[in-house]
């Protein structure tokens, strides 16, 4: 394997949440308020995924008080603690920039349903359970 790819694999997160463009997600982002650290949730639709390896970022868009807000998360960043997919989106485009020009009901993305989605969801659940069990076994490493 290419050395850079190998390094990025070692430095990056071992398990990335399976996110796709169009998904509605909750991004658990660690923020600093003075001295305290806390987790902030950013809920929105992924409209773009860019970059390879450790440089991968996801753009999440949501509507706050009638105003569109977008945030770009480097998904390998240690500040991004978790990304939970709450709803899969059925989209036919890699970038959903057209959502920026839409307001109201038209900003909705069709939900992706079906056997594959159920299987993916179960697999994700199983993976999370495995990680949780592992953390329970080694509490020092799990506690951050």
């Amino acid at each position: 394997m290419d050395l850079i790819q190998q390094i990025e694999q070692e430095l990056g997160k071992k398990h990335l949440p399976a996110v796709h463009v169009g998904d509605t997600v909750e991004v658990h982002y660690q923020i600093r308020e003075g001295e305290k650290e806390r987790i902030q949730l950013f809920v929105g639709t992924i409209i773009s995924i860019k970059g390879r390896g450790i440089r991968r970022t996801a753009t999440v868009r949501r509507i706050v008080q009638g105003e569109g807000v977008e945030r770009v998360f480097p998904i390998h960043s240690p500040r991004v603690k978790d990304v939970v997919v709450t709803r899969r989106g059925d989209v036919r485009r890699a970038k959903l920039y057209y959502l920026r020009d839409r307001v109201g009901k038209k900003t909705r993305v069709k939900e992706l349903l079906g056997e594959k989605v159920r299987r993916d969801r179960d697999a994700e659940k199983a993976r999370r359970a495995a990680v949780a069990a592992e953390e329970a076994a080694t509490p020092e490493e799990g506690a951050e």
Binding site: L3, I54, P78
Partner: protein, 212 residues
Amino acid sequence: MTLILGRKKGMTQLFAEDGTVTGVTVVEAGPCVVTQVRTDEVDGYHAEQLGFEDVRDRVTTKPLRGHAQKAGTAPKRFLREERLAAASGRSVGDTITAEIFQDGDLVDVTGTTKGRGFAGTIKRHGFSRGNETHGSMNVREPGAIGCSAYPSRTIKGKRMSGHYGAKRHTTKNLEVMRVDTERGLLFLKGAIPGPNGGFVQVRTARTGVKKG
């Protein structure tokens, strides 16, 4: 002053604890072998010659094979000398690895920049471009290159089109972000000259002023 020879492997990024991202260049540095030690008495100055990366006997010249044999190593692909103020105490045949640098050290990196062939003034000297529309015929032209009746010639050194790149260049005061002793890798903050896979010389920074 310490020198190590290596190859540029490519760029990636590092995350700090607080999520700050730093762009870094990965350099495969060493192991290098001291192939010759120059001393004041013999050569008139102090220096060390390092060799990096073995090369098959068949592709080297006989003089180079003999030179490597004196150091007790295989012939090397990349040989460079480091001028020293005084004898360093290292002798011929010693090896130098990436461990000579530590996190936070400042280094200068010398390499050969990417060749860009015959380049215009925009790429080569950063000239500005003319209008593409409004009937403009001057898009990437350099514009006027001098005056008229006096002096009736173009001043020497006027910046014009020509060959650009493939030239020795030193990027100064780069911070060592990480040292991978196992694989002999240096992670340097920022970009360094040359293409991926190009030979570079990494040495302790001369001025040592940290870049903002």
